[in-house]
Amino acid sequence: MMNFLGNFITPAGMWNPLIWVFVSLIIFLIAYLIWSRGESRYKKGTEQTLPFLSGYAPESAEGTHVRAGNIYWGFVTALKGYYKVLRKIHTGNVNDYVGWYVGILAIMLLIYLLWGGA
């Protein structure tokens, strides 16, 4: 029988989730203590709760939500060339699906015939 509460031995060290949880609980506790000593002027239903958009009044509540298509715009734009290739490959055409499979099959046949043996 092993000690299941003990350390999780990895190839180069060890890891103990329970200690991690314990430490993070302490950190949360400290954070809570700091937070609870803060100002308590926040009031619901006043203009404090409205989103702040550089001084402009938001058009509507829905308008303040950043939609999924706009997130990571910068990342995708920076890798434009890479994504262009990927989009070109993903044609959605069933002929291409079979074509890729057969192509990889042919390549691997060649590789195994050349270097497959022990």
């Binding site: 989009r87 993903h90 044609t91 959605g92 002929n95 079979v98």
Partner: protein, 115 residues
């Protein structure tokens, strides 16, 4: 010698034909036909593996000789045929539903799912 290998050459040609149809034909029905050709080729391959010249059917009850063809590949082929029928039926019924909804069977137009 060449003649003995004829089944295997046929298998290779049929598989090449079937895969050609699956990669280059644009009509979904033709793609399914290509699949069926590959399937027939594989079945032919299995049956010809177990064939012996002059062998009899492998039924032991009052058999005239014990020189028989191999029964296992035939059992495999039978199973494979049954599975193939199920696959083809399902694919063709998919084609039907796709045609009803898309109004076409052109694989270049049936790609609302991509990227």
């Amino acid at each position: 010698m060449m003649l003995l290998n004829l089944p295997y050459i046929t298998v290779a040609i049929l598989i090449a034909m079937g895969i050609y149809a699956m990669v280059y034909k644009r009509n979904l029905i033709k793609i399914v036909i290509g699949l069926s050709i590959v399937e027939s080729a594989v079945n032919l391959f299995l049956v010809s593996l177990g064939y012996r010249r002059g062998g009899i059917a492998p039924i032991y009850t009052s058999a005239p000789s014990t020189y028989m063809v191999l029964p296992t590949p035939q059992a495999l082929t039978l199973t494979s045929i049954v599975i193939g029928v199920a696959t083809t039926a399902m694919l063709l019924s998919f084609c039907m539903v796709i045609y009803r909804n898309y109004g076409t069977l052109d694989s270049r137009k049936i790609r609302r799912l991509r990227e």
